[in-house]
């Protein structure tokens, strides 16, 4: 079927803020699809509340609305833009749910908008538990015995009937929110209650527990005339019972014979056919390891996290093909852009092994429970490719960016066999390391298998790694052994640590030996067809002991300069999709400047690892050794590190040692910004004040420093990201505790102790060419200092600071940027205490706020930075020096958290970053922008007009004013004694006293669990010894879906947004923002 020419203008819905269960994969899918649509001449209108994404860029869509993903906004966009079609399958569950709401309410019909890529019936068949069950029964596809319940009693009875344990799955929720395996009636009642509330339709599936079976996924596609193909299958190393997003996954399946492989493949194709999907679909199976028995677990009738992984694992661009199918094309009419010679109607064949590991956030949430289950907890993932499983696993491990490079990285050597067996029973993020230790201790394969239900095949492969560790420890490092270790992707560093040879002391000794033996990484192409056809795609992975097949352009005459772009690795708290935005724009900008571009990255969810972003893509870990292997082959003219976050910055020194020229700010100057003494000298010479501080190495020194500075002080390790390990200490005990924690995460670097100043936090991103500076805008944080900038509500243009402060900021920024010889990007954070301005942090690199500030000012910051890095002057680009004219619009960036997913995590905000994503509110005035921002973050109030307040003593005075405002909005305020006393004596009338949680019922907890509370304002005291009550209140609130505000500033902003609420929302097309910067 040729393209449907009635489709001229398509509205695409994105997936909103990054949260656990819905991450960057939808930016990747959406971006690819938008490009695919525009390639066909279709006008694309995009709606997504997430400003950090690449898809919300005017380079990607014709009209861009970064607005809350609500039915009213979607309808507004439809009225304004009058698209003829709506493509809802690219925005994850959030996008699909939203489209369904408008379809059900008749809005789409009213405005003549057709759904493309799917139908309402298809979505219902796949997503509605009951209809799904009927559909599967109709085509004879088995599903686990299950029943949809809408109340607890029915659930209890049914569980009795099928027997515990049972699995609970709420309908229409993300990443299995609110679900889980329950073992008895008591657990069932608690989880079911929660699940019923979280489900959009108040339904929860109670299901036979098939945990322990193999979990297998198929990615399938279907076109308009019913052609069906499988893109990829994947086997979860962790069996059913652990969310696939938290499982280690391998592609293709390893332990299935052809009969099983084809049985499930045929099933997946029958399902996609019966559901009538046109586009991509993911089917998850549980396969009995002892028979051919299987169950369909779940079907996602859209692109998903797994489809992003399948695309990267195979090279098959699922989202691109899905978009073409939505336009009417069929699979045999769509070119396979990887080979360039075949068509999309084929099945990719892999001639390598792919391993995906989840990136879990327990380094941020130290108190959280690390146990994994049906509730996804990972914020991101890494992927690796190798010709053997062991190598792929080792590469994936060192890609995680959590100080692990082998199966020895967590030390369990002090545990005995019985303890290890107990540990194996609890599945946490370190299970692979525990399995390895169990093998070292001599626990048998079958015993490990019986406990973990991990297939023997994987246990054997882990044992191969353990055995090689032992050989390296015992044997002479000859060529054969070294080659074997490299084939299994042991790093030079690890080999140097293991070998007994006392001539080999460090990494470089092993490297020297490799060179002597001629052992080098070779690169193979990911070509979708296992080498059967010649392919065009420059998408490579490394392996050892093989023939290299990368072609290096040698023609000296028209040879372009080559630049290496270092990506930002897995999405984790503190380093999110923003840095992928920067990496991608950096790559495009270098291409515009005439460079050949090479990306190295390891994150399968991102746009940067799409095969057509750079001239060459190396899908590799981002360690010095892995990068060096690429450098050895490619011999790039230069590398750029300032766009890939801390991951890239960390490689600077190593790149220099490899002889790679670093473009932009020189490494010495980067170092000067990080080195306390050098930095203090610069500040002094520029006459810029900063909070007084000291560099220390021990707890004793820290305490001495704190006494000298006077408590409270800010304690943090240097060289970290997102404020990791940063804490406010109010006494010596706090210091002891914090230093203990810091030493667990980063021992190599000194610890900084700074005076904590309370004030307004201000942030700027700027581009400096050495003389002139471009400041697109000044951003002000709503929360006062002490809350990490990534967790603060950020406002542009700054609203509450004086012109004098602004000019100081501009002056300091320029002075600092020039003093540090910044060439390219710089990010500076300030504290304004009345008219005094202090510098608190300088990052001579691109930051989290760059996509946001670029979009709301219309200034392509990254592109300008690249031009400057390439030698252009801002003046020559027509850019006026200094702060650019402020926008008429106000744009507010609101942090979004995923606390409900991480059991046991403390949600109170502080200097350590905890948010997973962000959304934007942009409007003509501050209040409307604020309202949009809260709405975008999912806080839509008022509902019941009940709130809880419990604040620390120092906040009590200020709390009165805020309470009065909520009172005026009609709120009843529940408060415990201390807070209630303060509020009443301050004149707040509608205060209800409520018992503390340790007191008798009804108490605070009952109130929260009673579900009639809109939100809780709970400001915890600073320091380590926080009230345990407060923690319980906050956790319970979050887990029951009640918002918790832990800063009075946030509370005040929420009040403001409600006070100025208006039903009329004006939409802003970001693509039309005219920059005042004449560029």
């Amino acid at each position: 079927m040729p393209r449907n020419h009635d489709i001229k203008k398509v509205l695409v819905i994105g997936s909103g803020p990054i949260i656990i269960g819905q991450a960057a994969e939808f930016d990747y899918a959406g971006t690819q699809a938008c490009r695919s649509l525009r390639e066909e001449g279709v006008e694309v209108v995009l709606l997504n509340s997430n400003p950090a994404t690449i898809m919300t860029d005017k380079d990607i869509a014709d009209r861009v609305y970064i607005e809350p993903l609500t039915p009213a906004v979607l309808e507004g966009v439809i009225i304004k833009e009058m698209p003829d079609s709506l493509l809802p399958t690219l925005g994850g569950q959030a996008g699909l749910n939203l489209a369904m709401e408008l379809e059900e309410s008749g809005v789409l019909k009213k405005y003549g908008v057709r759904l493309i890529g799917t139908t309402a019936l298809t979505i219902k068949k796949a997503e509605d538990r009951e209809t799904f069950k009927e559909t599967m029964e109709k085509i004879g596809e088995p599903i686990a015995a299950s029943m949809v319940v809408e109340d607890i009693e029915t659930g209890v009875n049914y569980a009795q009937e099928i027997g515990y344990p049972v699995v609970l799955r709420p309908a229409y929720t993300l990443g299995g929110s609110g679900g889980g395996i329950v073992n008895n009636r008591q657990e069932l009642e608690v989880t079911l209650e929660n699940g019923l509330r979280l489900s959009r339709v108040g339904q929860v599936l109670v299901e036979r527990c098939i945990s322990g079976w193999k979990e297998i996924e198929y990615e399938v596609m279907r076109d308009n005339i019913g052609n069906v193909i499988t893109v990829c299958n994947m086997e979860n190393i962790d069996p059913v019972g652990i969310h696939t997003g938290d499982s280690a996954v391998v592609a293709p399946s390893q332990t299935l014979g052809d009969k099983e492989y084809q049985m499930l493949r045929s099933s997946a194709l029958r399902i996609i056919t019966e559901l009538g999907i046109t586009g991509g679909c993911n089917v998850q199976y549980a396969l009995n390891p002892e028979s051919f028995e299987y169950c369909v677990i779940e079907v996602n009738p859209r692109v998903s996290r797994s489809s992003a992984l399948a695309s990267k694992a195979t090279g098959y661009p699922i989202a691109k093909v899905a978009a073409k199918i939505a336009l009417g094309y069929n699979l045999d009419e769509i070119k396979n852009s990887v080979t360039g010679s075949t068509y999309a109607s084929f099945e990719p064949m892999l001639d390598y092994v792919v391993v995906k590991l989840p990136r879990l956030p327990f380094d941020k949430f130290i108190a959280a429970k690390r146990v994994l289950g049906t509730q996804m907890k990972a914020t991101g993932e890494v992927m690796s490719i190798c010709t053997n499983f062991e190598g792929a696993l080792m590469k994936a491990i060192r890609s995680l960016e959590q100080n692990v490079d082998s199966l020895l990285s967590y030390d369990y050597s002090s545990y005995d066999m019985e303890e290890l067996k107990e540990m194996l029973k609890k599945t946490d993020d370190r299970r692979m390391w525990i399995v390895a230790q169990a093998l070292r201790k001599g626990i048998s394969y079958s015993e490990i298998h019986d406990i973990t239900m991990i297939d023997l095949w994987f246990i054997k492969k882990v044992d191969n790694i353990v055995k090689l560790e032992n050989r390296l420890k015992e044997e002479k490092l000859d060529r054969e052994l070294l080659l074997k270790a490299k084939c299994m992707e042991f790093t030079d560093k690890l080999i140097s640590q293991l070998t007994p040879d006392n001539k080999i002391k460090c990494e470089s000794d092993v490297k020297r030996l490799r060179i002597k033996y001629g052992i080098h990484a070779a690169y193979k192409m990911v070509d979708t067809c296992a080498g059967e056809f010649e392919s065009q795609t420059p998408y490579y992975y490394s392996c050892y002991g093989s023939e290299n097949e990368v072609i290096i352009s040698e023609n000296a005459k028209d040879k372009k300069k080559k630049v290496l772009v270092i990506g930002s690795g897995p999405i984790r708290i503190g380093q999110g999709v923003e840095f992928d935005f920067c990496s991608v724009h950096c790559t495009w900008s270098f291409a515009k400047e005439g460079y050949e571009t090479i990306i190295i990255n390891n994150n399968p969810e991102t746009v940067s690892t799409d095969f057509d972003i750079a001239d060459k893509l190396y899908f590799e870990p981002l360690t010095s050794e892995d990068v060096e292997s690429v450098v050895r082959l490619e011999k790039p003219d230069a590398a750029v590190v300032q766009f890939g976050g801390q991951t890239a910055i960390k490689l600077t020194k190593d790149l220099l040692e490899m002889g790679v020229n670093i473009l932009g700010t020189s490494p010495e100057d980067v170092d000067a910004a990080e080195d306390r003494e050098k930095f203090d000298e610069i500040l002094e010479s520029c006459h810029i004040p900063r909070p007084e501080g000291r560099t220390v190495f021990t707890a004793e020194e820290a305490k001495a420093a704190a006494h000298a500075l006077d408590y409270p002080v800010l304690v943090r390790p240097s060289y970290v990201l997102g404020g990791q390990g940063m804490q406010i200490a109010v006494n010596d005990n706090d210091i002891d505790e914090f230093i203990g924690i810091i030493n667990r995460i980063a021992q190599e670097h000194p610890i900084l102790v700074d005076k904590y100043i309370v004030g307004k936090e201000i942030e700027v991103d700027a581009v400096c060419d050495g003389t002139d500076i471009l400041i697109p805008g000044i951003m002000e944080h709503i929360e006062r200092s002490g809350v990490h900038s990534g967790d603060s509500i950020s406002v542009y243009p700054a609203v509450s600071i004086s012109d004098k402060v602004k000019s100081k900021i501009v002056d300091y920024t320029k002075k600092l940027a020039t003093a540090l010889n910044v060439l390219g990007m710089i990010n500076i954070q300030f504290i304004a205490d009345k008219e005094d301005v202090y510098v608190i942090e300088v990052n001579p690199r691109s930051s989290r706020t760059v996509p946001y500030i670029s979009k709301v000012t219309g200034i392509p910051v990254v592109e300008i930075a690249v031009k400057v890095i390439c030698g252009k002057k801002l003046k020559d680009l027509g850019i006026t020096d200094g702060l650019q004219e402020e926008s008429d619009l106000t744009a507010i960036k609101m942090p979004v958290f995923s606390f409900e997913k991480i059991r046991g995590a403390d949600i109170s905000l502080g200097p350590e970053m905890k948010s997973t994503g962000e959304c934007l509110g942009i409007a003509k005035n501050f209040n409307e922008a604020l309202y949009k921002a809260f709405e975008g973050a999912g806080i839509k109030l008022p509902k019941y007009k009940n709130m809880i307040m419990t604040v620390k003593d120092s906040d009590k005075e200020e709390a009165v004013g805020i309470a009065k405002r909520f009172e005026a909005l009609g709120y009843r305020i529940f408060a415990t004694r201390g807070t209630a006393d303060a509020l009443e004596s301050g004149g707040v009338k509608r205060v209800r006293r409520i018992n503390k949680i340790e007191q008798e019922s009804p108490n605070l907890l009952d109130l929260i669990l009673g579900h009639e509370i809109d939100f809780v304002i709970d400001t915890p005291a600073q320091g380590a010894k926080r009230s345990h009550d407060g923690f319980i209140i906050r956790r319970n609130a979050v887990e029951t879906g009640v918002s918790v505000l832990t800063s009075l500033d946030t509370a005040s902003a929420l009040a403001a947004s409600m006070e100025n609420r208006s039903d009329h929302i004006e939409l802003v097309d970001i693509a039309k923002i005219k920059t005042r910067c004449t560029f």
Binding site: I225, G226, N227, V228, I229, T230, P252, S253, Q254, T255, L256, G257, D258, K259, E260, Y261, Q262, R265, S266, L269, P289, E290, S291, N330, L331, D332, S341, T342, Y343, S345, F346, E347, P348, M349, L350, D351, Y352, V353, T387, N388, F389, D455, L456, W457, K460, K461, N464, K524, C529, A530, G531, E532, F533, E534, G545, S546, E547, E549
Partner: protein, 359 residues
């Protein structure tokens, strides 16, 4: 123990010997299937050939005897990157290497199979030797001569059944001409109730016609189709008999040759489970299981005799024919799958319907 793969272009790959230590000279072909090594090794169409698996880890799920497509392996050797050191599957009865020992099949592991595959793709199918001894000096040149002189010959005779046998059923009576048939062809028909009689490849057409079958199935098989002059003559008689015929792979080629068509050798053949084939009747594209080194030149056939019914979407080669005015259709690929996708097994239903309608 070290082993060597010597190609006719003098390239030497070295690896570790697996399975039998016997030396063989063979035609080297690659297969891109990620699963199904047991089916591939036992597929009679590989007679006279050595198979390179492009998937890097082979043997992971062991061997279960019910996956065998004939009574013994027919491929002469197996070339892999890594032979899995564990067999993990509930059906596994033996390890792959033990299986190779048992049937005296040699092989090599530790080969950069992607590099080798690309060589075969660029050069075309090559002859090769698998050996544990690397010949030196003039011996090497002699070996190369021997490798180059090798031809896949007499293979249908080697793999066809010696006597006819029957899989009894109550449905349509099918005569299956076994030119090296994979077991799943008979099984696919039998599963649908057919009474299947399997005949040796060199059976006289008249014998088959006299057995009064409702339909005739021509099977897959190894080697150059043109070599089978005697069988081709008999097939012409079957064509003339007006009995419904469905042919697969070699059978498809033999039927075309019987009707004056021509076949040619593909540069490196199609072997794998991912080839898209377009059905001209419905416009649908199916993912198929393929294993063939030769193809029918559809232009060589008179349009009044046969027309293209299926075409390979990747390279436009012929994948099936329908014979005008006859109840005959033939396909180049493998609807019986094993290994590979089952998407085309509807063709067996089509054949049964054809027989029923003709009855």
């Amino acid at each position: 123990m070290k082993a060597y793969l010597i190609l006719e272009d003098k390239t030497i790959f070295s690896g570790m010997g697996i399975g039998s230590d016997k030396e063989i000279v063979s035609e080297l072909v690659f297969n891109t299937s990620m699963t199904g090594y047991t089916e591939i090794l036992t597929d009679p169409s590989y007679a006279g050939q050595a198979v390179v698996m492009t998937y890097p880890i082979i043997g992971s799920y062991g061997v279960s005897y019910e996956d065998m497509e004939s009574v013994r392996p027919c491929a002469q050797a197996l070339i892999v990157r890594e032979l899995s050191d564990i067999s993990s599957n509930f059906r596994s009865r033996t390890g792959l290497e033990e299986f190779m020992f048992k049937y005296d099949i040699p092989g090599i592991s530790g080969i950069d199979t992607r590099h080798l595959t690309k060589k075969l793709r660029d050069y075309g199918t090559m002859n090769a030797m698998v050996t544990r001894k690397l010949p030196q000096g003039s011996d090497f040149d002699k070996v190369i001569e021997r490798i180059r002189a090798y031809r896949v010959k007499g293979v249908v005779e080697a793999v066809t059944c010696k006597k006819s046998y029957t899989l009894p059923g109550n449905g349509m009576k099918v005569a299956l001409l076994d030119c090296g048939a994979k077991d799943n062809i008979a099984k696919s028909l039998h599963k649908r109730g057919c009474h299947v009689t399997v005949w040796p490849a060199f059976t006289e057409a008249q014998t088959i016609i006299d057995s009064k079958p409702d339909g005739i199935m021509l099977s897959n098989g190894p080697g150059d189709p043109k070599e089978n002059t005697q069988i081709i003559k008999q097939i012409k008689k079957l064509y003339d008999s007006d009995i419904p015929i469905f042919a697969i792979c070699l059978g498809h080629q033999l039927m075309a040759l019987a009707l004056g068509g021509d076949t040619y050798k593909l540069k490196y053949g199609h072997r794998g489970g991912n080839h898209p084939v377009k059905d001209h009747e419905t416009g649908r594209t199916y993912i198929t299981s393929q294993n063939h080194g030769y193809a029918v030149d559809e232009k060589s056939l008179d349009k009044s005799v046969a027309q293209a019914a299926f075409t390979n979407v990747n390279d436009g080669t012929n994948e099936g024919l329908r014979y005008i005015g006859k109840n005959i259709f033939t396909v180049q690929y493998h609807p019986e799958a094993c290994p590979g996708p089952h998407d085309s097994d509807y063709l067996f239903d089509k054949f049964i319907k054809m027989m029923e309608d003709n009855r």
